[in-house]
């Protein structure tokens, strides 16, 4: 996934470091460092390849390309791209993990339409 165009996402750039609680009602792309918690109910979070996040994440959709240390709660779907390093539990309805991604934690697939889409290498 390429970096987003300005205006489509709120963007936390490479050189930005944030400590504290992040919440919002628009999609967010993090390429910097965030430590704390992230609440984006109904919106999507993307952690870019340069992103380093230490936080529990609550969002509609979560895509991880960089590093995440914390639990993911995604009401719709979570994706771990091949460059992802994710340590923490994942609770979501749909999960995609590319070959090469590093994941350490528990997976909880929730809901009646719960399903997991394996991707990469297939």
């Amino acid at each position: 996934m390429n970096s987003p165009k300005t205006g489509e996402f709120a963007l936390i750039g490479k050189s930005v470091v944030i400590k504290g609680e992040l919440s919002g009602s628009e999609d967010l792309y993090i390429d910097g460092q965030v430590e704390g918690s992230i609440e984006l109910h109904g919106n999507n979070l993307t952690i870019g390849a340069n992103g380093q996040v230490k936080a529990n994440v609550n969002a509609k959709g979560v895509v991880v390309q960089g590093k995440l240390e914390g639990n993911i709660r995604a009401s719709d779907r979570a994706e771990l791209r091949k460059s992802a390093i994710a340590v923490g539990d994942i609770a979501t309805q749909r999960l995609a993990i590319e070959d090469g991604a590093y994941f350490k934690g528990r997976v909880d697939i929730q809901g009646e339409r719960a399903k997991l889409e394996a991707s990469g290498g297939k």
């Binding site: 350490k104 997976v107 697939i109 399903k115 394996a118």
Partner: protein
Amino acid sequence: MKLFRSSSGDSVPNQNAQPARSTRRSNGLGEIAKVLAQQEQLCILDLGSTSANNIRYFTERGHKIYSEDLLEASTDPALAATDEQGKPMLDSKRFLAENLLYPSAQFDIVLCWNFPDYLDESLVKPVVEKLWSVLKPGGLLLAFFHTREAGPDAVCYRYHVMGGDNLEMQPIELKKHGRGGSAIRLQRVFNNRHIENLFRDFSSIKFFLSRDNIREVLVVR
């Protein structure tokens, strides 16, 4: 115990590397499949390289799965240390303090795949002891051990559970010190007595010898 690693620890090209996936029948996995079919809500710990396929397989059947890539974790550069003589070693205390931390989980099944053969010598015994402590009484542990015929360049695989006793094997190349170091090779070959000794605290052990120079070991806690 025969050690394969040279004293220099230099990387040697993996001549057996196979880019394509292959399949095999696994008697040990077949035994586990019977348990999976008979019981619900089992708690499974997959210690191999992360497989989305395995997560899907177990969660679709209503089981809980935890995933932890122990071999990858053992390549963390932060674990590099030196002994009293200044020789490079791995900080096993730190490794155990940072991995296999499941204070509230008790597992019904632990899938080790082939990591014991590739894991640093200092970690093998303490990791098996820790696995004993996180397994429920009567819980099952599956591990694969190479025979001597496999050779030091035996390919390391990511294992994908395909159903029943079918396994898909995807070659992977492990790097020392994270994703940029030299390749990790087979560290040693255990004979049956070593394996029995390694799992001596468990209540029973069953061996399955296959044609591809692998001994499957199914252990009951």
